[in-house]
Symmetry: C2
Subunit: 424 residues, 2 copies
């Protein structure tokens, strides 16, 4: 098969007709397959079933003299802080351990900035004329939504192979209305890019005009390799401190894709001054988070080495799924020169760039054939992909057999929409 | 012993000198006793240990076809909604089941009103010139703090034997700046008052000038009798709906004092229209709450009747503690005519009104002797009791032996501060 662009119109028409038959075949099977969200699959959930057997003995209820079953310790169980600190390579006192969702902690950070202001804010962000926010894209739709919810002006920063385009970021932060940026620094959502050391250092050295400029460092996939060994990653907190900006960053993480999605434990990490400010702002809202679940996780995960062993087991489930997706793209799409994609070694997504102007059409065709994808455009601010080309695939949920069907249909729909674009 | 006010100054001086010796004795023992917060005691926590043994079998992970271990169902597990609906006597579809804390849900409701507005808000409350809020007092300090945090003007409404002074409430809501009221309608915090049917009906019939006037109905102690049988309680949602105000109320509840404080499950209940509006506002913040813990509670509590059986066991632990406190007050303080108090049959507190101008002094003396109480003034808006007389006792945490010491010291300090006030 040669690249579609090199085909004559007749060749394309013949190809289109043949693929249409295939498409009708798939459609007639009435499938319902889902590659929309980064949901772990059942095998991954079963992997951690032992977590339910913990907390049986009275001594399990007590951690460092604290009865985890009662109110108290708003900033989290010290043992849980220590666990996250080891994983993130920061200090236990820099860690605030929260509830079941890091998204909630991110929302709270922005919400507090909006209603009351962060540590160095001249005024609450809700009292500013304009708040602008940098959104590396393709990126995570739920990040963008939070800042959209509060009416910020979202500014797209293109992603590169080494992270966000730092020339643009350094230029943008000269505007005092620019208050922050979303980052997924390791296995970025959806590109799977690991920010380079140079990128990270440039983040730490940012000289933002806004005194309360904030890097929202969502280290969601900090230990989520599915191919190869654990990749060490710099501690952004100490880099920012070394650069003289200790309060410029909030880091986030959770066990949602380590233990149980929506029933794990989340945290944020920040400077001592930010911790004091933020716990003050959280005091009217929270007596304490679920320390029983924090303790359950401390007992289950134990330490970083033991957690990385568990991640190897997740990898053994995730690896084949990503291979299925990448192999299909390689075999079906690469020769046609109608799309490009990243080959991540961790995280939860494969980011596909289709031929410009065909992402939405591909999404529609997939839906027609019973395959649910993340909405085309979702990886850009306001859900609008200016080139209508990025599609995020989430291979984690379906079993491999289903995934193979889903990716076959996706490839087919990519082809159909490319042919339609090129003319048939 | 006769009332202090009827004593001569010499008699009071002699009494004061004798009590001072007793005080020094207690002080020298270096005790550390706590009656400050409504924390369940260890015996209550041990009561529910079986909850940790659940969720062992694969079928336990699935509820109504939903794998509780994965993301999804933001408004809560249907089975958990049904459980709370039975307890609160409302409809399952009116219930949103959240995380470990109803305080968080209350905070979120006010926070969303502030940043975005409630269903009938002309604009976000943060854009209003002034927001006024009614605070029945004595009341719950954490309620008052939430509305203080957002800069509302707190207006004190005196509590009566039948609930808040409804004449004042009906008058106050004629002001369109008055946006809502805090209520703990059953076993009010701290008075232990059950709102009368007439009070509740007047709430449902309130004709507030503000279109978005909101009753924050914190039914925290809805099944928390420690003396006598379960007391049925009207469903405020249907009363408000019948009165033509379906969207005027949000009800809250949790299992913090049914299963585990800070590790239970919380909920709010509201009209269908409010549910749509509020889930929309929560979408950017939450993927889903901890459904594993929701399911754990469904399996453990089963239904209302079974839950009430558990509450009887809590009552058997709480009852003696309240008796110890009330007996001591009756024996030591009643004859002296220096304080009054309520005799609640449920809830978590005993509300003592000391001689005006002596609550802070009593609190200080208690602290000196090693007894921690809720801060004097805490039960009023801004932490300021205009008469400096209300003290909230929380007898639940200490074992009975310790509690007997704590209440003995409290009575002693009440006497000392009354004598100082009367002159010695």
């Amino acid at each position: 098969m040669k690249p579609y662009a090199q085909m004559t119109k007749e060749e394309r028409s013949a190809e289109y007709a043949a693929l249409q038959k295939e498409f009708q075949n798939w459609k007639s099977r009435g499938l319902s397959l889902n590659m929309a969200r980064g949901k772990p699959g059942k095998a991954q959930l079963d992997l951690v079933s032992d977590i339910f057997g913990l907390m049986q003995k009275p001594e399990d209820y007590v951690s460092g003299g604290i009865d985890v079953r009662n109110y108290g310790e708003m900033a989290g169980l010290p043992a849980a802080k220590a666990l996250f600190a080891e994983i993130l390579d920061c200090k236990p006192e820099q860690v605030f351990v929260g509830g079941n969702a890091s998204l909630q902690l991110m929302f709270d950070t922005i919400s507090k900035a909006y209603t009351h202001g962060l540590l160095h804010s001249p005024r609450p962000w809700g009292r500013e004329e304009t708040v602008k926010w940098l959104c590396p894209a393709p990126g995570y739709d739920r990040h963008f939504k939070i800042t959209e919810f509060f009416g910020f002006e979202l500014i797209t920063v293109p992603m590169t192979e080494t992270g966000p385009d730092m020339d643009l970021v350094e230029e943008a932060v000269k505007d005092p209305a620019v208050k922050g940026i979303w980052c997924v620094p390791k296995y970025s959502n959806p590109d799977g890019v690991i920010y380079s050391e140079d990128t990270i250092q440039r983040f730490a050295n940012l000289n933002a005009a806004a005194p309360d400029f904030t890097i929202m460092w969502d280290n969601a996939y900090c230990i989520h390799e599915f191919k190869g060994d654990y990749v060490p990653f710099p501690d952004i907190l100490s880099l920012c401190a070394d650069a003289g900006h200790p309060d410029m960053v909030f880091e986030f993480a959770s066990t949602s894709k380590v233990t149980l999605p929506g029933a794990g434990v989340s945290c944020f990490a920040c400077s001592a001054a930010n911790m004091t400010h933020m716990t003050g702002l959280l005091t009217p809202q929270v007596i304490s988070f679920d320390k029983v679940n924090q303790q359950r996780h401390v007992l289950y995960l134990q330490n970083k080495a033991h957690t990385l062993e568990l991640m190897k087991k997740h990898a053994s489930i995730m690896g084949p799924k990503f291979r299925a997706v990448l192999n299909a793209l390689e075999k079906e799409i690469a020769p046609l020169d109608i799309a490009s994609w990243k080959r991540p070694k961790g995280g939860y997504f494969v980011s596909v760039n289709a031929m410009p102007g065909t992402a939405k059409r591909t999404w529609e065709l997939c839906r027609e054939a019973g395959v649910t994808l993340t909405g085309a455009g979702a990886t850009f601010p306001y859900g609008k992909d200016p080139q209508d080309r990025n599609i995020r695939l989430a291979p984690s949920l379906p079993p491999v057999e289903e995934l193979e069907q889903a990716i076959a249909i996706f490839c087919l729909c990519l082809k159909l929409s490319a042919l339609e674009k090129l003319g048939v």
